[in-house]
Amino acid sequence: MMDASRLSFLGARGLARLRDARIAVVGAGGGGSHIVQQLAHLAVAHLHVVDPDDVERSNVNRLVGATYHDVARNKATVLAERFAALGGSLYPTVGRAEEDGVRSLLQTCDLVFGAVDRYRARDNLERICRTALVPYIDIGLTIVLSRRGAVDGIGGQIVSSVPGGPCLRCLGVVTDENIARDREGYVAGDPEPQVVSMNGLLASQAVTGALALLTSFTGNFLLPPHLIYDGLEHTLRPNAFTPEGLCPHYPLAEAGWRYVLQVKHPS
């Protein structure tokens, strides 16, 4: 049982909410491992860690909780095992969000975090969550290098995508172009630069946002839907151009399973 004496600011109802919460983290890599670690420390009642991949040697410098002894073991399993004794329950799922069983699992959650590499995966995850009216928090970090290997830019995002509000497409985080680029990059197999410290910064803010959503600890605090990280300027700012109004991509009235019955009339 977690000692919550230093968490009294979350309020009795907020703590009860955490004790009952069902949260999934999709992507147990550089960003996701920080999120899993923090949620485990908060003793979230049901914490599902989803990742199909195994730990590689090149991951260990940023995969919180993993060591070189874990190479070739599934990431989700390693994290669930490592953070298991902190008071909550962790459940590793070896699979992808698009698989039927995993999708159903995500849709029964109170909140889903996405810390995945690819834009198509982000897009799919958000669609799964919006269909079931499940809030989705997405984090991502991109370090852009010049041809000579110098740092050209460091950008990141934390998107809190709630039903009705702006989605990753409204905010320009996911576009058809970057999904296509994604595919090209994947084919080329370029290793993308990442670093533990910046992943941790984005993950910490994402978990703080989740606490605000789940416990309302800040009263009538309004969480910005989109925070933009600039690693060269050392800033984390709300997107000043967040679209107002309801999301046109996922209208609330169209949530749920809308398979339309095919009625055949006798001719």
Binding site: H46, H48, R73, N74, T77, A80, E81, A84, A85, S89, Y91, P92, T93, V94, D100, G101, R103, S104, L105, Q107, T108, D110, T131, A132, L133, V134, P135, S160, V162, P163, G164, G165, P166, A212, L213, L214, T215, S216, N220, F221, L222, L223, P224, P225, E244, G245, L246, C247, L252, A253, E254, A255, G256, W257, R258, Y259, V260, L261
Partner: protein, 185 residues
């Protein structure tokens, strides 16, 4: 105790590579805060209507049917109320007609009313009879849309929805809403 045993097992024999997630036979209703507030407003007693009824439009989130999502609120049409001995009497044809109209988009209906007060409300005897004899029967032969009922208090709710032919309780999950300047938890 079970967890202690599991850790001892893991320590002695090594942890399993994949642990099954707890996919209980749970049923949940996900509703945005804005829709929930609208629902409350629709069933508040008024001078002209002491116990107003509302119909919550719901769909399954997916084929698994574990999660219901609320997609809209319709007040019970004024023409559907009929006089009778109980608090709120209505012509069932109005509900059947609405159910039929929304079925093509896999949309079902929860019949909603309020008992006021605070704490977890319970369905009364007449409510239970209505749930069994009307709402559960709407689901006969239909597995693409959910049907059931919901009773509200000021700070809680009790929900039943048909699952495998029987009315089963569902947990209420109120989802944060989006306002013009950000997300209100």
């Amino acid at each position: 105790m079970l967890r202690w045993f599991a850790s001892l097992w893991g320590w002695v024999f090594g942890a399993p590579d994949s642990v099954a997630a707890p996919l209980e036979s749970m049923q949940r209703l996900h509703i945005t805060r804005a829709t929930y507030q609208e629902l409350h407003a629709r069933v508040q007693p008024r001078i002209e209507r002491g116990e107003p009824l509302a119909l919550l439009l719901v769909r399954f989130a997916a084929e698994s049917r574990q999660v219901l999502v609320a997609v809209g609120v319709i007040p019970m049409p004024e023409t559907a109320y009929v006089s009778g001995p109980d608090g709120a009497n209505f012509d069932t044809r109005a509900v059947v007609e609405l159910a039929n109209r929304h079925l093509a988009s896999n949309t079902g209906i929860l019949l909603v009313h309020s008992h006021g007060g605070v704490g977890r409300p319970d369905f009364g005897d007449i409510d239970r009879r209505t749930n069994t004899e009307i709402m559960a029967k709407l689901a006969i032969g239909i597995d693409t849309a959910p049907y059931g009922a919901m009773v509200l208090s000021r700070d809680s709710a009790t929900i039943v929805a048909v699952r495998d032919g029987a009315l089963v309780e569902a947990d209420l999950v109120v989802v944060p809403s989006f306002g013009s300047s950000g997300i209100l938890a």
